[in-house]
């Protein structure tokens, strides 16, 4: 089935998540959708599959304009979406999963369903026991089940969102084979991914998204550098870099291993000098946040040593890290950084050292006025933090940091901010670096990482690259590493 998306717009608050997207997917083709996190690809796919509605624009299937206002509308029209996390019912049997979502009488015909299911899966060489419980299947098998279920429901357009995350190489091969077979039968397959390798290998055509726009469509043969350039844009200008020598309060990670239920990051070694800026690049969820939180003392590493200026911090509680002069600024400002309902003044009082039992409000007000001026916060001392804009919340968070800080850990310090605010915030941060503060920060914006870092660590599925010198690294190299090439 031919799918046409015409002039699609979607706003989330101030964010233009889809800006005038025009995309045509011919039937019998595998269309790749490539882009960073937040580039707008998932938004577009959710619009097509009925989970959200576009603000404006048109969708045509085989030339006929359609209105898709819910996922069940979409499946009725033949559009099925395979989500990153399988949307199945783990404690139920495979056959029951097929029956759910199917129109039918009160008493479904189980035997007939099993027969049809087995016939369908033999076409693709799958071998799922229809009576098995879903939670005993592997992620790859659950994906196969989901594909079969969508075909079963009559899907003629199949959307796959990051389908190669979490499945084995052989299952990936099988998936690709299946998708090719489906395309050969005349189905349209839309394959969403940030993995260059997969997209290049599988797709007949690739559409690249960046910052809510479709920035280009590419036909094979693909040139990786060209795709990376489209995906991440161009580097503007690099600031002049300074060299940093190891100093007496440098931060060391020695053979550190971090584990959580999803991933394991092994054997990290890093020394951060005074005033040095380390950028952490990688797709979201590749381990950067775990790394940052380990440096902050919020996650305890399972092995290795952490110390700051010779002071051993391994295994110490978060407070000890805080007292050693390590500050952590989380990305979710309202959830983890600021306290809704409290005013700016109250925040600055909380951030200051306690002085006596009673609060000196006159002094606190004076301090707050000063901070508001210094950090150019658009708000008054009595403004509650939730009444501030995102940029001003970020400024407030930075204004709350105590002096002096030895190591500053920042999660997406400029996410959601306009360019001006971002530049201003980095100006403030660089001032701190001149006073000897080291910075480790994550960002989804490669330009930001290249522009402000001295060295860069790239994370990919729990693996960490050796520190790269930011000066001699190009966006293309970085993009390839982020896409998993070169690990």
């Amino acid at each position: 089935m031919k799918v046409e998306l015409i002039h699609i717009h979607k706003h989330f608050g101030a964010v233009h998540a889809n800006n005038d997207i025009n995309l045509t997917v011919e039937s019998g083709k595998i269309q790749g959708i490539l882009g960073e996190n937040g580039a707008g690809k998932s938004t577009l796919m959710k619009i097509l599959s009925g989970y959200i509605q576009a603000d404006s624009g048109e969708i045509r299937l085989d030339g006929t304009p359609v209105k898709i206002s819910s996922p069940s509308d979409a499946i009725r029209l033949g559009i099925g979406m395979l989500h990153q996390d399988p949307l199945d019912f783990p404690p139920m049997r495979v056959v029951d999963n097929l029956l759910i979502g199917q129109d039918g009488g009160l008493f479904p015909n189980r035997r007939e369903v099993v027969r049809a299911f087995n016939e369908l899966q033999s076409q693709f060489g799958f071998s799922i026991d229809p009576y098995a419980y879903v939670d005993t299947l592997t992620v790859g098998e659950r994906q196969q089940l989901e594909i079969l279920r969508l075909l079963w429901l009559g899907a003629r357009v199949l959307i796959l969102d990051e389908p190669t995350t979490g499945i084995s190489a052989s299952q990936k091969e099988k998936l690709f084979e299946t998708l090719r077979k489906l395309a050969a039968q005349g189905m349209s397959v839309i394959f969403v991914s940030h993995k260059l390798e997969d997209v290049e290998f599988l797709c007949d055509r690739i559409a690249v998204f960046r910052k809510g726009e479709l920035v280009g469509e590419v036909d094979p043969p693909y040139v990786t550098d060209e795709l990376v350039k489209l995906m991440f844009g161009r580097v503007i200008s690099l600031e002049e870099k300074r060299r940093y020598e190891t100093c007496d309060v440098s931060f060391h990670l020695d053979h550190v291993t971090i584990e959580d239920y999803r991933l394991q990051i092994r054997d990290i070694n890093l020394t951060v000098s005074c005033g040095e800026v380390i950028g952490l690049a990688g797709m979201e969820g590749s381990g950067q946040v775990q790394f940052l939180r380990t440096c902050a003392g919020l996650i305890r590493p399972v092995a290795g040593e952490i110390n700051l200026g010779g002071r051993r911090l391994t295994g110490k509680p978060y407070r000890a890290f805080l007292e050693a002069g390590i500050a952590y600024v989380p990305a979710s400002r309202m959830e983890e950084g600021l306290i809704p309902g409290l005013s700016l003044t109250e925040h600055f009082i909380l951030a200051e050292e306690q002085n006596g039992f009673f609060i000196n409000f006159d002094k606190a007000l004076a301090t707050t006025r000063q901070r508001i001026e210094d950090f150019n916060i658009k708000g008054t001392p009595v403004s509650t933090v939730e009444s501030l804009s995102g940029g001003n919340q970020q400024r407030a968070l930075l204004a709350m940091l105590r002096q002096p800080v030895n190591l500053l850990l920042l999660e997406h310090p400029t996410r959601g901010l306009d360019i001006e605010s971002a530049i201003w915030i980095w100006g403030k941060l660089k001032e701190r670096c001149k006073q000897g503060t080291s910075i480790i920060f994550t960002s989804a914006d490669l330009e930001e990482i290249l522009q402000y870092s001295d060295r860069i660590l790239v994370f990919y599925g729990g693996k960490v690259s050796p520190p790269l010198d930011a000066e001699s690294t190009t966006v293309e190299q970085l993009g390839q590493l982020i896409g998993g090439k070169g690990f």
Partner: protein, 348 residues
């Protein structure tokens, strides 16, 4: 509150007034259903509360434990905790006070000192019970609502066991409680009234202290931070568990003192329902004043007046005195409801 625009403040007052009217209307409907003449009932409540100096003094007697409970609860609510276990904390305070008095009664110590020790023991009893709720929450991952509820039942069972067991009256134990203490162990009252100025002063001081704590101290501000966003407070370096535990202990202390006044100034013995529901009533007061200490005292006084005013309803009108509870409960419900309506309407 301070940064609310004038227009929204007026609309806020308007909605509050509407809530009061709705609560009165609802209570009136309840009266009509039960076959009473609403005007007569309201008149009776008013004369029952304000009809004589004795009755006014009785309002202040009821106000005292209510003030103490509300003051404590304002601290736990500020820390984001639902200290539903306050009833048990009042009861434990009463039990500890009774215990101290029973132990010291046969000694030669001056009665004033015995009573002082009684207050101290009551405070400790309340803290002990509240501390258990806090520890269960912090280290046992037991939600304070469930922990508190469970401990309330334990406290009640403990009271009954003591009254019918080890502390039973000579001869036979009865629901009327333990043997009353001798007169010298009664907290002095105003001549001719049941009101003890000392107990009343304690209640007023407690609410004043809480008001100052929450308004002008680092402790209060941090408690507020913990209650509104524990995660952010922790990341700012505030030891959140310590602050939660302190809120529980302080609330337990005040609840324990409430229990102690019930024993020393009101009943002069341990009775089965010694907490008299002041803990739950305190929760309603705290909710009704939106956790603002400034308004807690007058609203608590109003609730105390309703309680006293409805005492004579069964005698005069053959109505249950729980009618005041209907009014109190529906008041809280409608105020919360109207607050929700206001938010929904003014959301931009």
């Amino acid at each position: 509150m301070t940064m609310m625009k004038t227009s929204s403040r007026w609309s806020g007052i308007g909605f509050q007034a509407l809530a009061v009217l709705l609560a009165l209307a609802f209570t009136t409907v309840v009266m009509l259903i039960s076959g009473a003449d609403p005007l007569q009932v309201y008149q009776n409540i008013i004369t029952g509360a304000l009809g004589s100096p004795t009755k006014v003094a009785d309002i202040l007697v009821a106000w005292t434990p209510l003030l103490l409970a509300t003051a404590g609860l304002l601290l736990t609510f500020t820390a984001g905790l639902w200290n539903i276990g306050i009833e048990g904390q009042i009861t434990l305070g009463a039990i500890f006070t009774t215990w101290a008095l029973r132990v010291l009664q046969p000694t030669d110590l001056p009665p004033t000192l015995i009573m002082a020790v009684g207050f101290l023991a009551g405070a400790l009893g309340g803290m002990f019970w509240a501390g258990l709720v806090g520890l269960l929450k912090i280290f046992g991952n037991v939600n304070e609502i469930f922990g508190g509820l469970g401990l309330n039942f334990v406290a009640t069972a403990l009271t009954i066991w003591l009254i019918f067991g080890p502390w039973k009256r000579p001869g036979v134990g009865s629901m009327s409680g333990t043997e009353p203490f001798p007169l010298e162990l009664w907290l002095p009252t105003l001549p001719g009234f049941r009101l003890s100025p000392l107990a009343l002063a304690m209640g007023i001081i407690a609410i004043a202290i809480v008001y100052i704590l929450l308004r002008g101290t680092y402790f209060g501000l941090r408690l507020k931070a913990v209650g509104r966003n524990g995660r952010a407070a922790f990341l700012m370096g505030i030891p959140t568990t310590r602050y939660m535990l302190m809120a529980f202990l302080l609330c337990g202390l005040m609840a324990g003192l409430a229990g102690a006044t019930q024993v020393l100034a009101v009943y002069h013995r341990l009775i089965p329902s010694i907490s008299s529901g002041y803990g739950f009533l305190g929760m309603m007061v705290a909710m009704l004043v939106n956790y603002q200490a400034l308004w807690a005292a007058p609203v608590a006084l109003f609730f105390a007046a309703l309680n006293i005013g409805s005492i004579q309803l069964p005698i005069v009108l053959k109505l249950d005195s729980s009618l005041s509870g209907v009014l109190q409960g529906s008041l809280v419900l409608f105020v919360l409801l109207m607050d929700g309506v206001r938010r929904r309407l003014t959301r931009s």
